[in-house]
Amino acid sequence: MSSLKLKGVRKSFGTLEVIKGVDLDINAREFVVFVGPSGCGKSTLLRMIAGLESTTSGDIEIGGTRVNEADPSKRGIAMVFQSYALYPHMTVRDNMGFALRFAGKPKAEIARQVGEAARILELEPLLDRLPKELSGGQRQRVAIGRAIVRHPEVFLFDEPLSNLDAELRVHMRIELARLHRELKTTMIYVTHDQVEAMTLADKIVVMRKGEVAQVGTPLQLYDDPDNLFVAGFIGSPRMNFFQGEVLESGNGAFVAQLVNQGGVRLTRSLSGRLPAKGDKVTIGVRPEHFADAGTGTADIALKVDVAEHLGSTTYIYANTAAGEQVIVEREDRHAGDADTLTVAIPADKALVFDSAGNRLR
């Protein structure tokens, strides 16, 4: 009903191709987040779905109907902009009801819809104010309200929280999650903040340079990234990466020597494709997965640089003998007290990536 399908969607500005063939299946009522670094094309893709940018090739289907040529107002979408884009000379009430006036709805109907949206978003006391009299968070709710009254099939959000301060952002994140639960509409949300992605999404689409790097649930992307990029993008603080060279490979396992770690070796078994002898691999370990020295398969000697105590967690920023930075997460407040620290890489938590950045499982 309000599902979304992208088939081989491409977009070029002149000779520059910015979206390089995207295929996506979004189910009805899903909260999907497009996330990625600046310039990855996530906003462009959103605007193509909205109809604000044309599609060079490929198909966009909303609710089973191809909408490539359709006017933005006829696609069954509503959009919340990063700058909220409220009509500055109209009251909150008029802002929310503006679209309905052009849909030919009778005044009583418009009033009812606006009232309903105002109730959901707790905007009732603000209905007669102008946007310039509202705070950032209030303006954002009005922008959402304007989208709600159109009862769209798909909600589109373009980095809606980036103009809010940190505390408000956390609050609005929860509001949005609650809104999704209450409205039960498909939502597509664009952000560069992977924390927002992880907390809000049913499904995350990680984008990089115009292509989809991986699609999955937050925890799938966290635990089981498909490639180096996704592994390094998702998760804060970042995953640690160690370079390795494969010494032996066969019988469902390989041995790699970690570069610049003084000869330390890691043995890892994989059920799928093995790297060949002599190949370069990257080993990824999340800060919280480091085991104590001697309990894993590879011990890494570190010199502690700075320890950040957040109360229940401590992040230790340390350097290897070769000067590369490693981040270790510990629940022990005294973990970073000493000058040196030795940690071990547990074989089962070590993620393996080949020289092209693809994950080997």
Binding site: P72, I77, A78, A85, A99, R150
Partner: protein, 296 residues
Amino acid sequence: MAQTRLDRSEQINGWAFVMPALVLLGIFMIYPIIWSLWMSFQVGRGANFSFGGLANIQRLANDGLFVQALTNTFIFFIIQVPIMIVLALLFAVALNDSTLKFRGLFRTLLFLPCVTSLIAYSSLFKSMFSNDGIINQALLTLHIIGAPIPWLSDPFWAKVVIIVAITWRWTGYNMIFYLAALQNVDKSIYEAARIDGVPAWARFTSITIPMLKPVILFTTILSTIGTLQLFDEVNNITQGNPANATLTLSLYIYNLTFRMMPSFGYSATVSWVIVLIVAVLSFIQFMIARDRRRPS
């Protein structure tokens, strides 16, 4: 209230920076206008004048030329200002589209008339609108008219020439103001309107125009003042002719003061008529543009 050294320094500097301008304005604007008010009650010619009470105002009421000048000035104002403002708005909106090719070129070309001196373009127009001139020839060739229009010798057409001239000269100027204001408008507002299903004409009337209200008011008042003071063009293209059909208030004052035996008191009175008209019209325009909403 204890004044700190910082406060005093602020005050001293504040006045120091604005004083030169204020002194000059006092001498060359405030003093003359007050003198003018006083003079408007004096009668007599040249340097011989004496108090005449409301005699000048009576003279105004019976002065046919004054009435004609007033009427002409008003006609120019009522017709020319709205046409120009609307045109300038349309140009600005058209040029605000970043996907339009040759935007910079169009903008430059449309603004170019504003670079000409009023005299220069008056001479230009005078030469173009002669009976066998290029304008008539073009209109005849395009079959828009059947016979040449006696532009400068017909009271009606002479007014048309003036209006066309002013519009040509000043539309680009107002257009730049609107363009600048439009650049300040968040583009996403229009995108939101497109998604909301607001058609293009409604985007113009319900979003663009209200958001541009301050600038439109500013330019309208400026244009009002400019057109009500119209002098250069009428003095050079038509000399107020034919038969005073294009006589404006400013030209009338000039004639009264410098072409005839000057009665400074009467000239001053007519000058104050202009001041009052401008003040009233500006006030009206302000009132129309004011927010009529009750603050909550």
